[in-house]
Symmetry: D2
């Protein structure tokens, strides 16, 4: 997590003050439940909220205590006691540090997921707007980087929309994976704390009780969460690379917006580089790479070890902050993307009609040629055009094997661009529910 690739709202989730606030809420809600079932005095539970419910914790002071105790939750509880006074002895009754730490982490991850979900919604809106704007803007479709057949720029956006709709669905599932709360005490047996406390805290913190915890909340949940972020980051990369390709000098069908003061290169002032999408490519590599350590975190020893902690201290903030930044940056790129329909048309015309070869091939078979013959007829006329030696339609008209099967008019009909766009509405309806 570095400032350059961070946005404040997501960063704030991971700040010490936020963490201590969540710790306090977990402890105080637990006290309420303990009071309700008669383990501690109701007055004390009330007092805890009153004395510490609105304080700003002194992060430096807590760090100072931790340097002695070498235990972060004990340090916090000691500091909390400074606000609460004698009633502090009722705080954390029967609980273990993991109850606080793991429940807090899941609160943070669900909040992070909520921001990411909003990010995706914003991205989907931008994509949808550009999709309809360019629903029928024709451009060449490419397989293997080679011109294939016509598509539209709107279809490219539709694909992205469908992909990020899936991303959203996956993220909702990932959020649900980590939206659990454990207040089950040492080794998770509830020996020293009633399960009703967990139920109360879970409800108050917007979580569900973890069915069975072993002091810790099981880490397969978190592995799934971070793996999902990795897949979403890979979709960010896909759209980013599409734009990088479209912005290539020789292609130039679209460009990232270029602001006034911006300088493309310290040496070559004419350059307008797709630096935002290149940056997104790198950020995707980072987020993806964090899935593996998260998966290695699953196999903790026996009822728990703490090897997961250092990993999560780093990838918890890093993966969510980086993906948040990436989604927001991608939204801006799509929103302001400069699209050049004229250049799209120029590229469509580049191959002298070769992109219609398949239609001719099909027509020939329908006229009775075998698939192998039709393929041969088409290919022998396509190859010279590919080398820049002639026009595809003209050559076909002159080919006696072709002429035997198709008239010139029939051949001409096969070169109509509109033919390729007749199902764009079908696809739009599938993706957007409207066309």
């Amino acid at each position: 997590m570095i400032p350059r690739y961070s946005r404040p709202e997501m960063v704030s989730i991971w700040e010490p003050q936020t963490r201590f606030k969540i710790w306090f809420e977990i402890e105080a809600h637990a006290c309420d439940a303990l009071a309700e079932i008669g383990v501690i005095p109701k007055e004390s539970a009330k007092n805890i909220w009153e004395k510490a419910g609105n304080v700003t914790f002194n992060v430096d002071r807590i760090d100072e205590i931790e340097r002695v105790t070498k235990h972060d939750v004990i340090a916090f509880l000691t500091h909390l006691g400074e606000f609460i006074g004698p009633d502090s002895r009722f705080v954390h009754q029967g609980m273990t540090s993991s109850d606080v730490l793991d429940t807090c982490l899941n609160v943070q991850l669900t909040r992070a997921a909520d921001i990411l979900l909003a990010d995706i919604d914003g991205l989907l809106a931008a994509i949808e707007r550009r999709a309809f704007e360019h629903k029928l803007t024709p451009c060449i479709g490419r397989s293997h980087g080679i011109h294939a057949e016509p598509v539209t720029f709107g279809l490219k956006m539709a694909e992205a929309h469908a992909e990020f709709s899936r991303a959203k669905k996956r993220l909702l599932a990932a959020r649900e994976e980590v939206a659990t709360c454990a207040i089950s005490g040492a080794v998770g047996t509830f020996a020293n704390i009633d399960p009703r406390v967990e139920e109360h805290v879970a409800a108050k913190m917007g979580l569900k009780p973890e069915p069975v915890s072993t002091q810790v909340i099981p880490r397969d949940r978190h592995a799934m969460f971070f793996a999902t972020l990795g897949v979403i980051a890979s979709s960010v990369e896909r759209l980013a690379i599409e734009i990088r390709h479209l912005q290539r000098t020789e292609v130039l069908e679209a460009e990232e917006f270029f602001s006034e003061g911006q300088k493309g290169s310290s040496a070559m002032p004419h350059k307008r580089n797709p630096v935002l999408t290149e940056n997104l490519t790198g950020l995707a590599r980072l987020v993806r790479g964090m899935a593996l350590p998260a998966m290695e975190n699953v196999a903790l020893w026996h009822e728990r070890d703490i090897s997961h902690s250092s990993v999560e201290r780093m990838i918890g903030p890093d993966a969510t902050v980086t993906l948040d930044f990436a989604l927001a940056r991608l939204t801006g790129v799509i929103d302001k993307l400069l699209v050049y329909p004229n250049n799209m048309q120029k590229n469509l015309d580049l191959l002298g009609g070769l992109v219609h070869s398949q239609r001719v091939l099909l027509a020939l078979t329908q006229k009775g040629a075998s698939r192998e013959d039709a393929y041969r007829f088409v290919q022998r006329n396509a190859m010279p055009v590919w080398r820049g030696e002639g026009d595809f339609l003209a050559l076909l008209k002159k080919d006696p094997d072709v002429s035997k099967l198709m008239t010139d008019a029939e051949l001409e009909e096969k070169f109509d661009l509109g033919y390729h766009l007749k199902h764009v509405d079908t696809i739009f309806r599938r993706v957007f529910g409207r066309a």
Copy 2:
């Protein structure tokens, strides 16, 4: 995929004959739909099924043709033509290779998912049986590898059951991710093939139409699939490592079943090694490592490139075959696991009562000691016991600060094992719906 770690049912999904069979079905169903909408003669569609519906394809012959054409689908279609005769010109009309390849891959992945789901069901059944068998078999719970407080072996199984129930849910979602069919032609525009063909083939092959494909089915779906397998493999590793720990010479609370002819070591004949679970640890590393290449596959260029193909040819079989084998092996391990309650009790008694320290700590605070004082009283008596110098209960009884607050009888009550097991039923009901 190597024979040693493979099971035949899963392997057969990935055999050439299976693949060609699926290819044929896709093509033949497409012909039915094309005939239904009048593009090709109904008689021809019928003839295709009749001539080739029950044949065994000649894999060597197809390979031979591919060596010339350097194109696998064309090679197959050529071979298919040898069965079908002139009607073969109606096969593959308006389709592109990816329609066949991608739909086939998704058929294979959904079939693989079905086997894996059955594997998980089998594993869950074995875990559940052992969980109830040992619901109240006490053993020490360990955090950081250090004795903490009592749990039961049934609780360990309950945790595993909850974890693999989540694995099942994730796998169902992953299966749904890849259960799509694309028959959309070159660059996915349906220019040369009616969308109704896709709908028909999808229904027949047990899939849903891909809302928008770009010649290929988008690879974020597959990335999610393989990432999910990686997470499940990590859960396999977790349970495997638990067993490896329990089988350590000094712990010996459980052992993998040891068959009669088996030799543990070429040098040390007394050895009984947890080789199955060690093997599972390695297999988990392999499956997990395949998630990354799958994520890198997402960002194909423009409407498609074929870089994903070599990755999928390897990880498609490898990840599913390896995970299938691992789940089955783990099921066998759990099913036949030798559990040693006597050793569990011996280990429980190892620390001279220290595992009850928290209960004493809590009791002291409830009697009016501050948390800090109680912690100090307990720790100063615990440390000598830890060093093997005395019995915890005896020392506590002699500590004047403790005696001031608790009678001997009150102290003794805190050393009751049953106290820790009182919520086992609660947890079992959460996990299994019964106790």
Copy 3:
């Protein structure tokens, strides 16, 4: 490891027969050393070579024995005994399975490394030939996919040559990492086997004695080996992606060789796709992904566990076979690459002289303009050219701020292509030792 991406020489290293042959050699050399130091009869050692030195082992028979013993080395030794007779009791004296398995693996990996080193030599030769062929073939250099300044195709090859020279150096180091032999007995103490046996076997098998083994050869060596393959695979990817870019329809500066019978697409017969380099991109992902499991293999428990074994059974063959295939394929691609100097020139001319902007910028500062002013003058003339509105040289001549500092002749001199190529020889001498 799948046939499609395999070459026989590398595959043969990993075949059971090869493995058993190496096992035999290790055992027989050990017997020689044991005989030399008087532990077993010299006649027996000689007899072992004579009876089994030239046999073909029966792989099925060994598998059959293993199904009973569940131990591969014991199964092999039993089978070996069938050839040798009573003297077989002297085989494997004081040794442990790992002595055989680990030393064998390292023999296989060093042989694999030797093939890979030869592959790299072949690739370097192909690259060098093409580099000199096109040393002065000018083409546009691109940063961010955007035209920057002129380079030559030979320089692109020189970069690749330097990169694969580094790959070779790394591979030599990786080979040295795994070229060790351990014959140290159970837990590696040499309690039952004299260290002189290890020295003898190491020398005979072309390895060095492992300074300290713990029954197993430490796996950091293998992690380094596979990590190195991952880095080399990434260099394969880099060159593959360069070619994919150059083959794009709009760029078309180079093409993979296209054989006569080859079909680019089942639907679009004109297509010539960079399928080999796309394939290489995927293979790179696979090899790279194997570095992680190899690193996870390092932390074996205590003196050894066997979790590394399943990983190595898979990635040992897979990583070496795949990289061997990839290097060979890349060599073929480079060797036969169709290079189009005319298209390179066409692309160089595409931007109406903008690629010379930096030279103008520098000249302006040398004439006394501040860097900021010079940048501004250049950029305001570059932007219209970028939009296709005018010629860069013409606009500069008309700019009064520019005219104040530079004459038309001075401006024209800045548009000379040769200027950019004056240090090509310098670079070639650095890379190839000649120019």
Copy 4:
């Protein structure tokens, strides 16, 4: 990079002030060379050092400029100009941003490598000290977590020493990989900057000239660097896991040092947990996970794209800072490790002599039994001992098949511990050059 797992010296390498200082030095040295070859006035080059050689750069001011220019090097140069005045127009002549950025990164990485090398030296010293301290402290060697045969604690340390000696050698190679300098201008052709400038800057910054750069220094070098850190981190994990195992309650052969104020658990005050080595396990996962993004960085497009930058901004500091912290922490753990020879002896005795089974097996074969018979005799006496039903030596003496071959005295000799330690000195001499 988070404060908790960071040490100031390594952190300072990555601070903005350090970076700007290095940028300045690169620029100023380049000016010296440019002056030397007559491109800019010598007086100006001198002036640049005088005006800015000792300044503290205003990081906030540079950030402020970058927010407008969106280009970090231009922002720095603008700020630099504020110190230098008119001569600033001679700075960065013919250079491109990457010349500064990439050379700076490599200076930072070599400095980081130097710290890591010193870390490893410190670790090796600690390991060596403990190795000789416990050269002959016997403990049980374990394979598969199961007691095998005796080793010594010193041998465990010797293995770690050999492993980190390899780590040092690898790190030296990795340092050499990234110790290069590129001052080659746009697209790396030296068109606007003489190669002698590069040579001068390289020499002054302690680097070698990059033989061929393409505006950027090729990223295979950095991939190798980070992959090497990943392998070293895996060795950290190995030693950490060894200690975690030894500290298990049932094993307790060693313990991390436990300071006075430290609290092991908020709930269980007696607990002494291996939290440092658990933490190291997690840190290893993190460093290892960064190897993949670094490898993905290799395949930049054409002469360069900037996707590597965001990755390096994160993993550059994160990997080096984390590994530095981990190595230092591990050194402290080893240095202060509490070693319990009495417990080691207790564990050695745990199996009633079974650990000597192999010696008996060998002796039986040497007395004439076939390997299969000997194995059977030993195993049938070992199994009851394993179940706790008897003493191994006593049972062997009573076995008639054994008695036929060995006298009681001969059997007793096989139970001598010293037998296993006779080659410890040999191994120590191999590892440490002394014994």
